[in-house]
């Protein structure tokens, strides 16, 4: 069906030479993009390559400084989001923009409510919402529930239903699969195929190359705010070529080999029979210095909850945690930190970083007492230390004075790691360490994690991407529904076997 | 304790009666001040007899603003004391409030309970007019105290302190000072209260009018908020604005504590300070010579209101008047208290 779309040939959207400047930054320095009706056009690029800005230009959030946008062959401008919507462009943002206090139906029709004489038509709204949800394969989501109570995956569905609730010609999907498990991704793809066969164009952004291969028709690659390649075939273009285009250098998407850790060493972190009602139970494992333990499992398996409980952000109801043989009092982050535990949480922006503050302030947040005497901060020492950590972790751009929000995902993750290294943490809990990190920066993060481990840290990595867990970890725990189903050396597992354990719901 | 109160009440009642006869020159409302009542003289008043004798027991509802100010506190307590004097008064006193809608509901409760008379010092005269009219229509006489309703039909009797008259008294006294001390080109300052209140506007108008009689005018004017702190704050600025002042009239002795503090802070005592309302503090300062004078605005209005309400409910008239009925309108005099007569008025001073 996408072949049919391609056969149409005529571009639905044609952007040429689009430039967008922000104070001090050129976000887009000449972008060309051509999207045809009925195709899935993938947008590839590292974080900071300009994808988000490009999307916002298309959605009418930003007005470009230069360049032309042709819509069906006619030059158009989108001075505000409403204008883009009127042309039939809908956007599903990565950061879900739903109003949590409103119901599913109200969210879907937010901004174009079905109403008569200014009074909302509730019945019609709900029926139409139900139709859309059914069409998306989720008839189980009730239009009258509040969005705040839905899972991330279901919120994604609502967001998509909202996009479809208008008469759309082009849908922009910004990493829609980030919060979905594989079954849900399959469902998403079914919907995408349905849309394209109806002639709707989809601009699809993802860091997962396998998804692009599966659903994409053509690929445009952005780098440093400019188009470096356009119209590549999504199925046949070699991975190495795509990565080269994105990064400007060849990156082997491989994990560095390493020697097996010393299994005889005394565990640095011991987790014994940890449990919390309704979340997880009987979780026990040891991590030795120099060892990386991975926890694999689908979203909702209880992996993040385990990490947060070890860290004291959730109070352990059963079991205990020991660092270096000493029991860590439960339910206190401060005591866990004092014991040498550091957590890089799943939601970096909302859980780890103060985005308006400087990079330096974010690094030193956990180590302030070390730089202060009687509460007075030695700013020289603080700065020197933070700068040295930032530069040794190769944070780009250099310097610790810029605002945190200006850094890309990968560099933000490095700041979180720098914080715990500066604090002297010996036990590092990493929850989805490469989420929102582009391919080039990922291998940097992998190398960093390995280095930390080799330096004697005990590392626990949680990830939804099974190859990542298998590639990084020495030993792997497989979790599903709050239970540990399997524990063993990573070398004895492969992706297929891990999926098998999870899907069968029992220890293999 | 009770004796001076009784004396005081008697004095005020007499003063009120006198003031009534003298209101023509100072009142800012031109309508008939006469006591004529449309109902004629068929109800037999009790003229000439002793009204203080016990009559039928009457239920009087009293409602006033929150007593967050010395003068208002004195209003409330004097009302209570007046009621306590008469064994035939059963006083229902509603909790003081600054919320007009709450006060309306107080009055509605009085109407429902079927009290014999209502004494009302409204938080806002206009806002309470409607409910007062309803009470009147229900046959309950309403005595309006201090802040006037916007309708003639909302009250049987209105007792007003004379705000305009206060200004006139202060202005006339200021003129007198200028004349006696032969001050050429005097600097006259005014420290008003809350500027948005009609009573403040009336006082300022009276002051300005009286000053113009002797060819003077207000050179500097500031407005405080009836609180000590605001009095101090605006006076500090005022003293900067005018490096030399001959006469200050401060509307309110409560904020006067702050005014006095500001004068002390700045080390300024060259001017004659005239106060307003007549707090005990002010009276003591006059005695000590730290203050020139204060213009009385008696906090006993509510007490008079209670007394009149009793007479109304018992169908009596005012015994000192030939007229057989309680007058429609009573405007209290605003005498000036100076060092010469302060001893006489000391009892009337309220603690702020």
């Amino acid at each position: 069906m996408s072949a049919q779309g391609r056969a149409n040939g005529s571009p639905l959207l044609h952007m040429t030479g689009v430039v967008k400047r922000f104070p001090g930054v050129v976000a887009l320095g000449g972008v060309d993009l051509e999207v045809r009706s009925g195709e899935v056009h993938c947008l590839l690029g590292q974080n900071g390559a300009g994808k988000s800005t490009l999307i916002k230009v298309l959605a009418g959030v930003h007005t470009p400084d230069e360049g032309h946008i042709l819509w069906n062959g006619t030059e158009v401008t989108f001075p505000h989001p409403q204008a883009a919507m009127e042309h039939g462009i809908a956007t599903m943002y990565q950061e879900l923009d739903l109003v949590e206090g409103l119901t599913v139906a109200e969210n879907i029709f937010l901004g174009h409510e079905l109403s008569r004489f200014g009074f909302p038509r509730r019945r019609a709204t709900q029926e139409r919402a139900q139709e859309l949800l059914t069409q998306l394969g989720h008839p189980g989501i009730s239009p009258t529930t509040e969005v705040g109570g839905l899972s991330a995956a279901n919120q994604q569905i609502v967001s998509m239903a909202r996009a479809l609730s208008r008469d759309v010609r082009l849908i922009i999907m910004d990493e829609p699969s980030a919060v979905l498990d594989s079954a849900e991704v399959d469902q998403l793809f079914d919907v995408v195929r349905e849309l394209t066969s109806a002639g709707v164009a989809v601009v699809y952004i993802s860091h997962r190359l396998d998804e692009i291969r599966e659903i994409g028709d053509r690929v445009t690659v952005l780098k440093d705010g400019a188009t470096v390649a356009t119209g590549l075939d999504a199925k046949s273009t070699p991975t190495a070529e795509l990565i080269t285009l994105m990064t400007g250098r060849s990156i082997e998407y491989v994990f560095p080999t390493r020697e097996a850790p010393d299994t005889a060493a005394t565990p640095l972190l011991s987790v014994e029979d940890l449990g919390r009602d309704g979340e997880f139970h009987d979780v026990s494992f040891d991590v030795r210095p120099g060892e990386i333990v991975g926890i694999a499992g689908l979203v909702g398996a209880g992996r993040s909850e385990v990490l947060e409980t070890i860290f004291g952000a959730r109070r352990a109801e059963r079991g205990r945690v020991r660092v270096g043989g000493t029991v860590v009092p439960p339910g206190s982050v401060a005591k866990a930190v004092a014991a040498g535990i550091g957590l890089a949480p799943e939601e970096r922006k909302s859980q780890a970083l103060v985005l308006e503050h400087s990079v330096g302030d974010n690094i030193s947040l956990a180590s302030l007492p070390a730089f202060s005497r009687a509460g007075w901060i030695d700013r020289g020492a603080e700065r020197a230390s933070s700068e040295s950590y930032a530069s040794s972790l190769e944070v780009r751009p250099r310097g610790v004075d810029r605002e945190m929000r200006t850094l890309s995902g990968g560099n933000q993750q490095k700041i979180v790691l720098a914080r715990w290294l500066q604090r002297g943490s010996r036990v590092l809990l990493l929850d989805e360490p490469t989420r929102g990190v582009d391919v080039g920066a990922r291998s940097e993060i992998y190398t960093l994690i390995r280095t930390l481990s080799e330096d004697g840290c005990a590392v626990v990595v949680v990830s939804s991407e099974i190859p990542e867990v298998l590639g990084l970890a020495d030993r792997v725990l497989v979790m599903a529904d709050g239970a540990v189903l399997h524990q063993g050396p990573a070398a004895e597992l492969d992706e297929h076997r891990v999926l098998d354990i999870i899907l069968r719901g029992e220890a293999a | 304790m009770t004796t001076p109160i009784r004396k005081r009440s008697a004095f005020v009642a007499a003063a009120a009666a006198l003031a009534l006869l003298a209101t023509g020159c100072t009142s800012n409302t031109p309508e008939t001040e006469d006591t004529a009542s449309e109902s004629g003289g068929e109800q037999s008043g009790n003229a000439g007899s002793s009204n203080d004798e016990q009559g039928d027991t009457v239920v009087i509802g009293f409602s006033g603003p929150a007593a967050d100010h010395g003068w208002l506190a004195a209003i409330n307590s004097s009302a209570q004391e007046a009621a306590a004097e008469y064994p035939d008064i059963e006083l229902r006193s509603a909790e003081g409030t600054n919320d007009a809608s709450l006060q309306i509901s107080h009055i509605e409760t009085f109407i429902n309970e079927g009290v014999d008379a209502i004494v009302l010092l409204p938080t806002d005269g206009a806002a309470l007019t409607e409910v007062a009219t309803r009470a009147m229509q229900a046959g309950i006489p309403v005595v309006n105290v201090d802040r006037e309703f916007s309708s003639e039909f909302a009250a049987r009797t209105t007792i007003l302190g004379d705000n305009y008259g206060m200004g006139v008294s202060a202005g006339t006294y200021a003129c007198q000072l200028v004349e006696e001390n032969d001050i050429a080109d005097p600097v006259i300052a005014e420290i008003a209260g809350i500027d948005s209140l009609p009573l403040t506007q009336d006082r300022s108008q009276g002051f300005a009018d009286a000053l113009s009689e002797c060819g003077q005018s207000v050179d500097n004017r500031v407005a405080a908020e009836f609180t000590v702190e605001s009095g101090e704050r605006v006076t500090a600025n005022l003293l900067q604005a005018a490096p030399q002042i001959d006469i200050i009239w401060n509307h309110d002795d409560d904020q006067g504590v702050g005014v006095m503090a500001a004068l002390d802070n700045a080390g300024r005592d060259e001017m004659a300070l005239i106060g307003g309302a007549g707090s005990a503090n002010a009276m003591r300062w006059i005695e000590e010579g730290r203050m020139e004078a204060t213009v009385l605005y008696p906090p006993t209005q509510a007490a008079d209101g209670i007394k009149l309400a009793r007479l109304l409910a018992q169908d009596k008239g005012m015994s000192d008047l030939v007229q057989v009925e309680v007058p429609r309108r009573i405007v209290l005099n605003a005498p000036v208290v100076t060092q010469e007569n302060v001893a006489e008025y000391m009892d009337l001073g309220f603690e702020s």
Partner: protein, 354 residues
């Protein structure tokens, strides 16, 4: 990547841990000065311009009466009381909170410190008793606010709204709605006096401001305050005791209110339940005009001081020109908006260029 990163003897002591390839750090002194001129002056340039304009208007319309040392001291003295409250308010707002009860706390502190019992004790011991009483009452109210907000999870708006009503009511009960005159002349003389020509009240304001600036910009307390205001969850997951820190902010503001109560007692020679009316609005306005983010996470003491001075000067200039209160109110509204707009423009330009 250096193995020194996580060397086991890793005591975080700055240079020692720095890998060999760490860039040379510029001398802290120059960075500090440049930083102050760059950020402090630059960020507050709009406010400084607004204040200077106001002074120009004052000088043009009132001449020497405005520019006299006496008048300048009067402005500073008037700004001192609300200024001390505003410095405390800056901390609470930086930490993501709000406190509507400051005026009521000032009133309660002033009343409690001037009761017959307190004054008698002060006469027997020293007037310092009154000072301690006022500050202790303020701190106590702040503690209640802080505990309710931080541990009771009551929204700051609600908790402090309750305190606003409760504290002023209690003040009225204690004072029986009377104005309590302070008998101790030494107290009045001390706080009403001056040192080298500078009024003691102004000196207190300056000390509190300097203390506040240092606390916010140079200490772990300040950094943590900004962190919990900027992202409380991130601060919590960095091991900061967010609830304790939050409670401390309200106590700090309570202490500031206690100090302000002492100042107002000295100025007016009284303690009464009507002190401090609408201080909450004046303080919040000064803080926000100063450039502190109402949502927390970013704040400036210098801006707050300028905000207070702008307000106080405004009233002074109006009074010198004998303008009536209604005109003052209109002009005040216009100038608030103008100052904020000017401030935003200048700050934006500063940020984009820096």
């Amino acid at each position: 990547m250096s193995n020194e990163l996580t060397s086991p003897e890793n005591e975080v002591t700055g240079h020692d841990v720095a890998p060999a390839d760490a860039p040379a750090v510029s001398a802290p002194g120059t960075a500090g000065l440049a930083g102050f001129l760059g950020s402090g002056l630059g960020r507050n340039l709009g406010l400084i311009i607004a204040l200077l304009l106001l002074c120009a208007v004052g000088f043009a319309t009132a001449g020497d009466r405005f520019a006299s040392a006496d008048n300048v001291l009067t402005i500073l003295r008037l700004g001192s009381v609300i200024g001390v409250v505003s410095i405390g308010m800056t901390f609470v707002i930086c930490g993501g909170g709000i406190d509507l009860s400051v005026g009521a706390i000032v009133a309660l502190s002033s009343v409690w410190a001037t009761t017959l019992a307190t004054q008698t004790m002060a006469e027997n011991v020293h007037w310092v008793v009154m000072v301690f009483t006022a500050i202790a009452v303020g701190a106590g109210c702040g503690l209640i606010n802080g505990v309710l907000v931080a541990y009771g999870r009551v929204a700051p708006f609600i908790a402090t709204l309750a305190m606003l009503a409760g504290a002023r009511g209690l003040a009225e009960i204690i004072a029986q709605r009377r104005t309590q005159i302070i008998r101790d002349r030494d107290f009045i003389t001390f706080f009403g006096g001056d040192v080298l020509g500078i009024p003691v009240l102004v000196i207190i304001f300056v000390l509190v401001s300097v203390f506040g600036w240092v606390l916010l910009n140079r200490t772990t307390f300040g950094r943590r305050t900004l962190a919990i205001g900027g992202n409380a969850e991130a601060a919590r997951l960095a091991g900061i005791q967010v609830r304790r820190q939050t409670a401390m902010l309200y106590i700090l503001l309570g202490i500031a209110c206690g100090i302000a109560a002492v100042m107002i007692m000295a100025r007016t020679t009284t303690g009464t339940s009507t002190h401090g009316q609408l201080y909450e609005l004046d303080a919040i306005a000064a803080v926000v005009i100063g450039g502190t983010l109402l949502s927390g996470g970013r704040g400036t003491i210098v801006g707050t001081v300028l905000g207070v001075l702008i307000f106080t000067t405004l009233t002074n200039v109006f009074t010198l020109n004998n303008l009536d209160t209604s005109t003052q109110a209109v002009a005040k509204g216009v100038i608030i908006i103008a100052a904020v707009l000017l401030q935003q423009r200048v700050a934006e330009r500063h940020r984009s260029s820096g």
